[in-house]
Every structure is written in structure tokens, then in C-alpha cells.
């Protein structure tokens, strides 16, 4: 009998103690109750007419209007309609919402005050920073809350926009989502050598911390269209944008650091256009130390195809003609590189092509010495030699004109 009572007691206590667990689910938020943020644009602070009206009605908090952040979220209502096939919806499949303030994290948490669906960052794909903002504030500070966040993945890409960053998150095409368009465009490096390798937050952390200068892909926009053009130069000491490289200069950079996966070199023979399609390339930056003087040598070997030939009576089946083409392309590549090195050394005084890194790897002791001074300044006075070797391996389906 005694056993019986203790057993029943145990059972009742068990039930009581297990009750709190039924009320669990602390962290449960259904996916449709939140909105997925997929793109962010950081701009210099500006107040829209709505913002101003809100502020007139005392809707605000203690802040400086330094930064305006535009959040792009997926408009699921538009998508839901499409999937059910319920007629053509004129709606865009994305929604942009802007908020102004000074702390990037505080701005995110203002959104729940304005929208029924709070924003979650798990699916953030791209962050675009406007040049105006990035040349005044350190990128490190601007991105700090995103790097710290537990939702936002470090795989998120970072781009710089020369104009208003939020414009890059617009499109005129119904059904297209601008953020996805941008991330896909960055992956097109195998078709063009004017695109920098993707720079996700994960890689950016190292660059920011290492105090060496680096490049970020630049994107410009006009009337709902965007274009990747050139790159922004970020000075390592300050982590601010100090200048831009245009498309051709960026091409020179990708040749120097060997990040070319594909693309075209346009050159001319006898004043006529020829185009060379890169199939493979190898680039080496060789630092040389001669009695304390540092010199660099860039060695490039590339193989490719003659893809376009406007030259009259130029027969690619003729080796002599091929030689001529190769020479001209070699000269073109060399000039691309010289052009950008000249800009790096004289105009911007930065090293964004990885010369310093190569020196560090090959001659760590020397690097330690040089590092004490500003490497960017030291670099701008160093002589650089070029050595380009082009092989035209084939000429496509047409052998003579």
C-alpha cells in the first residue's frame, strides 16, 4: 500500500513538473510571420517625405540622421498569387523599406514599429554601401553589426555603389528580385575579367583587420538597371573609400593577381579589331631583393582563342599572323597593367593588387621591416617589371577570312 501511494505521488509530481514544458516553444516564429530580408543598401542619411511627416508628429527617437538603410524583402503576396496562377499581378516581387538613423542595428529594430512582419537576416544576400557613406565612415564600423549578427551569414556579399546605393535595389522587370540579380551577376566572372572575385563578409573581416588596402566591386545604377563597373579602392589604414578604378583598370588588376577565369582582351592589328578569348591564365608576382632594394616582376602566361578578327586578309592559319596577334595582345595586357599600376602608385598611393602579400610570403623578414612604415607609401615608389606571354591556341570555326 505504501508503494502505491508513493507511486501515485511520483506520477502527480511528474505531471506538474512537466507542465511548463508544454508551454515551451520560446523561439518559435513561423516563417510566414517574418519577412526575409535579402538585400541591404546603406546610404548617406536623407529623409523621405514620409519620414519627415512622421517626425513632425513626434514619431522618432534621439538620433542623428547619418545613415539611411534600405531593406529589401521578398513580397510573398506577389509570389503567392503567381504560384496559384490567379491572374497577372502587377505587383513587384520585392518590397523596399527605408529607415534613417545612426546605429545600423537600431535601424533594423525600428522596422517592427512600421511593419507587421519583423525582418530576419538569415537570407541576406547582398549589402551595398554608397560611396558617399563609405568615404566618410569606416567600412569596419558600418558593417560591424552585420558581422556580429547571429542571423546574417558571413556568405553575404558586399558591394560599393558610386551613386545612391538604394537605386541598385530597384528594377523595372516584374518578377525579378534585384538582390538576386546582383548576386548572380557577381558570379559571372567566368565570362568577363572585369568582375572582381566575390567578397563575402567572411573574407572581408580578414581584409578589414589586416590593415592592407583592398578592392570592392563597384555597381552603378540608372532607371532600374544596374551595371558592375570597376572597383572601389579601400585604404587599409582607414578602411574608407579613397578612389575608384574604372573597368579597364580593374581588368589590369585581375591580370596582375591572376584572378581571371575568362573574358576577352580587345586589341588591334593594322588598325582593325581583334578579340582574344582567355581560356587559361597564370600570373606570378615575383618580389626580388637586391641589396635591400625591392623590385617586383609580374609574369603572365595565358592561352586562348582568337574569337573575332576584322583584319582583312589576315589568315589565322598562318603562324606569322598568329605571332602578330599574340604580340598585339601582349602589348594590350601590358598596357592594361601599366595603366593600373601607374594609378595605384601615383594617384591613389595604395597597393590593392597583392604585391605586399607576395613579399610577405617570399621574404617575411624583409616584410617585417617594411611593414613598420606605411606599406602603401613604400609601394608607390617601387619599380615593377612586366613579362607577358600570350599563346593563341586556336581560332575557332573559321580558319581564314
Amino acid at each position: 500500500m505504501k508503494k502505491n501511494i508513493s507511486g501515485k505521488l511520483a506520477l502527480i509530481t511528474l505531471q506538474v513538473l512537466l507542465l511548463p514544458f508544454l508551454t515551451g516553444c520560446w523561439s518559435s516564429h513561423e516563417i510566414e510571420e517574418v519577412s526575409l530580408e535579402i538585400g541591404i543598401a546603406l546610404d548617406k542619411g536623407y529623409l523621405s517625405s514620409i519620414d519627415k511627416e512622421f517626425e513632425e508628429q513626434d514619431g522618432g527617437y534621439q538620433k542623428n540622421n547619418n545613415i539611411t538603410i534600405t531593406f529589401q524583402t521578398v513580397n510573398t503576396k506577389g509570389i503567392g498569387n503567381n504560384s496559384k496562377g490567379g491572374g497577372s499581378s502587377e505587383q513587384h516581387s520585392y518590397l523596399n523599406v527605408s529607415e534613417t538613423g545612426d546605429s545600423t542595428f537600431q535601424i533594423v529594430r525600428e522596422i517592427p514599429l512600421r511593419r507587421d512582419h519583423p525582418i530576419i537576416g538569415h537570407h541576406l544576400k547582398v549589402i551595398i554601401i554608397s560611396e558617399e557613406l563609405a568615404s566618410n565612415y569606416s567600412i569596419k564600423d558600418l558593417l560591424d553589426s552585420y558581422l556580429r549578427d547571429n542571423d546574417i551569414r558571413p556568405s553575404c556579399l558586399v558591394l560599393i555603389s558610386k551613386g545612391r546605393a538604394s537605386n541598385a535595389l530597384e528594377t523595372n522587370v516584374i518578377g525579378e528580385i534585384p538582390s538576386f540579380r546582383l548576386t548572380k551577376m557577381v558570379e559571372n566572372g567566368y565570362r568577363s575579367n572585369k568582375i572582381l572575385p566575390a567578397m563575402p563578409l567572411a573574407k572581408l573581416t580578414g581584409k578589414i583587420q589586416s590593415e592592407s588596402s583592398f578592392l570592392l566591386q563597384n555597381v552603378i545604377s540608372a532607371d532600374g538597371e544596374v551595371k558592375l563597373t570597376g572597383a572601389a579602392v579601400i585604404k587599409g589604414k582607414t578602411n574608407k573609400v579613397v578612389g575608384f578604378l574604372n573597368e579597364e583598370e580593374l581588368e589590369g588588376i585581375t591580370w596582375i593577381n591572376g584572378k581571371v577565369k575568362g573574358g576577352v582582351v580587345k586589341s588591334s592589328v593594322k588598325g582593325q579589331i581583334i578579340a582574344y578569348e582567355i581560356k587559361s591564365m597564370k600570373s606570378k608576382i615575383l618580389p626580388h631583393i637586391n641589396s635591400g632594394d625591392i623590385t617586383f616582376e609580374i609574369k603572365i602566361e595565358t592561352e586562348g582563342r582568337l574569337s573575332e578578327n576584322w583584319v582583312n586578309r589576315g589568315k589565322p592559319s598562318d603562324n606569322k599572323f598568329l605571332r602578330e596577334i599574340e604580340k598585339s595582345i601582349e602589348a594590350e595586357i601590358k598596357s592594361l597593367m601599366e595603366n593600373v599600376v601607374q594609378k595605384m602608385q601615383n594617384d591613389l598611393e595604395v597597393d590593392v593588387a597583392g604585391f605586399g602579400n607576395k613579399l610577405k610570403i617570399k621574404h617575411p623578414k624583409v616584410w617585417k621591416e617594411v611593414k613598420k612604415d606605411d606599406w602603401d607609401v613604400t609601394f608607390s615608389k617601387l619599380p615593377i617589371k612586366y613579362n607577358v606571354e600570350v599563346t593563341v591556341a586556336d581560332y575557332g570555326a573559321v580558319s581564314s577570312d
Binding site: 507511486g7 511520483a10 516563417i31 509570389i79 504560384s83 537570407h123 544576400k125
Partner: protein, 546 residues
């Protein structure tokens, strides 16, 4: 100084929590101990009750004994008493049999006729001694193969009720029991619950003797041994333990015998009773004996050193010990070639995984970790869930429960309408529910996938276990998301590794790791390479082929 120490002292809240963390498992533990103890007390009580049995022996006087017998079973309309004189000796005798159960032809031709008409007078002289009398009846008169004697009333009643005929001859307390049973049996058919594309089309029937005969016939193994037990206190039933004498581990047989002897219950209608009464852990959700209708399956299990238990009155034989991997294997794996068999096995493991965890993972991804699914999938899920009024858990429960109801109803339905109803239920409810916005289409896909996966598991009862566990997993996921699913898996694994089936770890051969046994686990290697019997069985002779 004090401040630094104080900062490390736990908060009172933490102390309360630490009490809770102690109390809850402690009470659960006490609770289980209490259940186990109660079960033990119950069995002890039963034993003491049943120990007093009336032993009533015959006296040798026909009239008085007949009264006894009639008092015991005479009120039954189907019990027949036929009194007659043996030959022309004037010795009174009676036969007792049951209408329908006993072979009347046999009784008329070979018992009555030989006793009454063919009984020759030469034998009379030997009638003087009782022993001689019995011998003569047995050796010269009764032309029947199955003749035994008894002096006990209970024994007689039991045998007669099973279809034997009792022959009582006045003056002898030794009553003949003549095997005239002609039970109704059905013909041997293909087992319905375990249909195979390739393999013998033989299934067990309800008759024990036929089943053992099938085993003998199928196996043709010299050292195949059968041990007979009587189980059930009120309704006595035969139970046979089959094993191969020079293979099976004697400890295992001993253990099984011990447990069968412990069975103490009124009546065993089906081998499921035996299964539940002799299994290691009745609180576990996993079947610890395998039930099968297929003789080939039993034989190949015996050849691995396992033991089979056959009960009279059911076509389902039990195989022990069983391991988790066996529940996902089918005899066909061995009949087909090894590459497809291996792939099919992998498929079944995948199906088991899907049946167990996919709804739980779905719940945890949708309501806890939206960041872990691909962006495009997330967007389409959001689109499809737009307008669904329920939480994911409730949505999943609605669909899962209705699928379970459909399945259960499908079992009860008459055969011709069964499939039609299944289609109607599945398609129409699914389609209509989506259109009505009660559930999202992706949920329907998830539920359908799980349901189909759970039917891909060859063992029916393992499928049931997985289905029950699936609901547990879903609740865990609804509380803790992905973390809950992990905890559930850890708990399940902990339980699996703790569980043993007749001394063999249930999770073998996965653990304890045994490379040799892995040849027949997730993959099935060519038969040429399976040279040894499973090591975990600790067989007497481990070599299968040279």
C-alpha cells in the same frame, strides 16, 4: 574579497533550477521502478494462485469414473459417450469423443470395428492380467498409430477436447487416448503480410504440426530440433521452440526456455502474447522479437544461429534474438543479386530516416530555423503558407493524424473498396484541404512522403514503431526546433544501445562495431563473401561455407 566570491555563488534561481533538474528525472526513475515492481508483484500473486491444482486419478471402475467424467464435460452437447462391450467378452467399455473434432470414419473403422467385431477370442486368455490386457489392446487390436495412456481425469478431458478419442475399458485405470484429431485447417497459402516478388510462395498456417512439418520439409536439416512446451493455464496450447542443435548458442536456448516456462497466463490466442510476455523490455517501443509468416525467413534465421518460436493456432512464428537492422531487411535481399539488394537496403534505411524525421525537420526549419533552408525554397514555402491559419505543428498533426486514420480505416474496409477509399481519402482530402487553405501544399508533400516511406519498411511492426516515434519527434521539434530533433535522436540512440534482445545488443551489428557482420547490414556483399555466420550470435559453428 567577499564580493569576488559572491559573484561566483549561484543565484537562488539557479539553485531552484538545479533542484528541478534533480527532481524530475528522479521521480521518473522512481515511477519506472514502481511500475516494474508492480508487474513483479502481480506475477508472484498469480503463481501462488495457480499452484493448487486438482489431481484426480481414475479408480478403474467404469461406472463411477464415467460419472466423474460426465460431470466434467458431459453437459456439452458435442461430447459423445458411446458405451459397448468388447467383442463377446462382455467387458464393458466406453469411448468418448467430440463431434466434428474427431475423425468419425477412423473411430468407426479402426476402433469400434476392431474392438467389437474383429476382436478374436484367442486373446481372452491374456485378459487375466491387467498388463497383458493393455498390451493386447494396444499391440493387436487398435490399428491406430497415435496411442497414449493416462490415468488422470484432467489429462483426459484436455485431450478429448482437442479431438482425441478416449477409450475407457472397465477394470483398468489406464485410459487410452487415441489420436483421432481431424482439426479444420486451411490450405497453405502465400503469406499476405509479407509478399515477395521472388521467393517461395509458402506461408505458415494455424496448425502447429503442419508448421513444423513445413519447416522440416523446407529445411531438410538433420539437426533441426523442436522442443515442445505447454503454455496457458486454462487454455492449454502447444508451443514449439525450433533451433539447429549444432549451431544455436546453448545459453540462448536456455534463456528462451527459462522465459517460456515463466509464462503464466490463462490463454495465449496468438504469438503476439508470447512476444510480449518474454521480451526483454516491455517499456520499449521497439519490437524485440521478429514475427513472420514465412518459413524461408525462419529457416535462414535458424541458420544464423537464431531461435524460432511457433505457437499453435497462429501462422506467425517468432524469431529471437532480433536486432534493429533485421527489421529493415527482407528475404528478397538474399534472393536477388547483391548490387540491387544493397541499393534497395540503402533505400530502406533512407525510407526509415524519412519516415522518422522529415516532418520533425520540416517543423523545426519552418518555425525555428528558417535560415537553414535554401533561400528560394524558403520563399516558395512562405508563399504557400500564406493564409494557412494554423501553426506548423498543428498543420502537421492534422495531416499526419488524418493519414493514420485513413490507414486504419483502410485495414477495416472490405477488400474491393479498400484501395478506392484510399485514393478518395488521400487525394480528395489532400487536394481539398490545400484548396480550402487549411494546409499548405508542401505540407501535403511532406506527409505523403513520410506515409509512403513508412510502408517501405518490410516489417509491419517496425513501421508502427517508427510512426509512433515520428509523432514524438514532431513534438520535440515543436519545442526546441532542430536542437529538439538532435535531442530526440540522442535519446533514441541511447535507448537503442541500452536495449538488448536475449542478450544481444539491439543495435548490433552497427555497435558494437563488428566489421564481419557489416557485410550483411546496410550493404549486402556477394554471397561468396559471406563465409561466416553473424559473430554477434556466438554460434557454435561459425563457418557457413569454405
Amino acid at each position: 574579497m567577499w564580493k569576488t566570491i559572491a559573484s561566483f555563488l549561484p543565484d537562488w534561481l539557479i539553485i531552484i533550477q538545479s533542484l528541478i533538474i534533480f527532481l524530475i528525472p528522479y521521480f521518473i526513475w522512481r515511477f519506472f521502478i514502481y511500475i516494474r515492481e508492480r508487474a513483479n508483484i502481480a506475477t508472484i500473486k498469480q503463481e501462488s494462485e495457480n499452484s493448487q491444482e486438482n489431481t484426480c486419478n481414475f479408480t478403474g471402475n467404469l461406472n463411477s469414473d464415467l460419472k466423474f467424467i460426465k460431470k466434467e464435460i458431459g453437459h456439452n452437447s458435442d461430447v459423445h459417450f458411446r458405451e459397448f462391450n468388447i467383442g463377446n467378452t462382455g467387458i464393458h467399455a466406453v469411448i468418448i469423443f467430440i463431434e466434428g473434432l474427431s475423425d468419425k470414419d477412423l473411430i468407426d473403422k479402426y476402433i469400434m470395428k476392431s474392438l467389437m467385431i474383429d476382436f478374436s477370442n484367442e486373446n481372452i486368455s491374456a485378459f487375466m492380467t491387467e498388463e497383458g490386457f493393455n498390451n493386447i489392446i494396444k499391440q493387436q487390436v487398435l490399428s491406430i498409430s497415435d496411442v497414449t495412456n493416462t490415468q488422470n481425469l484432467n489429462d483426459l478431458v484436455m485431450k478429448v477436447l482437442q479431438g482425441s478419442t478416449a477409450l475407457y475399458i472397465d477394470g483398468s485405470a489406464d485410459v487410452f487416448i487415441l489420436g483421432t484429431t481431424k482439426g479444420k485447417t486451411r490450405s497453405i497459402e502465400e503469406p499476405i503480410s509479407e509478399a515477395l516478388v521472388r521467393g517461395p510462395r509458402v506461408g505458415f498456417t494455424e496448425k502447429l504440426s503442419e508448421n513444423t512439418a513445413i519447416l522440416r520439409q523446407q529445411g531438410n536439416i538433420k539437426s533441426l530440433s523442436f522442443i515442445k512446451f505447454q503454455v496457458g493455464k486454462r487454455g492449454n496450447k502447444d508451443l514449439v521452440v525450433a533451433y539447429i542443435k549444432d549451431l544455436a548458442n546453448p545459453d540462448l536456448i536456455h534463456e528462451i526456455e527459462k522465459r517460456i516456462k515463466k509464462i503464466d497466463i490463462d490463454y495465449l490466442p496468438e504469438s503476439g502474447y508470447v512476444e510480449q510476455l518474454i521480451e526483454d523490455n516491455y517499456l520499449s517501443i521497439f519490437p524485440q522479437l521478429q514475427s513472420t509468416e514465412r518459413p524461408d525467413r525462419v529457416i535462414s534465421a535458424l541458420m544464423e544461429g537464431r531461435v524460432a518460436i511457433l505457437l499453435d493456432g497462429t501462422p506467425f512464428a517468432l524469431i529471437a534474438p532480433v536486432t534493429f537492422s533485421m527489421l529493415l531487411q527482407s528475404p528478397e535481399d538474399y534472393y536477388e543479386r547483391w548490387i540491387p539488394s544493397t541499393l534497395i537496403r540503402l533505400l530502406r534505411f533512407l525510407a526509415a530516416f524519412i519516415a522518422l524525421l522529415v516532418p520533425a525537420l520540416y517543423i523545426s526549419f519552418i518555425s525555428f530555423q528558417p535560415g537553414l533552408i535554401p533561400t528560394k525554397l524558403a520563399i516558395s514555402i512562405v508563399g504557400s503558407r500564406e493564409g494557412v491559419p494554423f501553426t506548423v505543428l498543428l498543420e502537421a498533426l492534422i495531416m499526419e493524424v488524418s493519414i493514420e486514420i485513413l490507414r486504419e480505416a483502410g485495414l477495416r474496409l472490405p477488400k474491393p473498396i479498400g484501395p478506392a477509399m484510399g485514393i478518395v481519402g488521400g487525394l480528395i482530402i489532400g487536394e481539398a484541404a490545400v484548396n480550402a487553405g487549411i494546409v499548405s501544399p508542401i505540407m501535403v508533400i511532406v506527409v505523403a512522403l513520410t506515409a509512403i516511406s513508412s510502408f517501405a519498411i518490410p516489417e509491419y511492426n517496425a513501421g508502427i514503431s517508427l510512426r509512433v516515434l515520428r509523432f514524438m519527434a514532431m513534438f520535440c521539434a515543436a519545442i526546441f526546433g532542430l536542437y529538439g530533433v538532435i535531442l530526440f535522436c540522442l535519446f533514441l540512440c541511447s535507448h537503442l544501445v541500452k536495449l538488448k534482445s536475449f542478450g544481444i545488443p539491439y543495435a548490433s551489428p552497427a555497435v558494437p562495431f563488428n566489421l564481419n557482420d557489416w557485410k550483411d547490414f546496410i550493404i549486402r556483399v556477394p554471397l561468396m563473401m559471406m563465409k561466416r555466420r553473424p559473430k554477434m550470435m556466438k554460434t557454435k559453428n561459425s563457418i557457413r561455407q569454405k
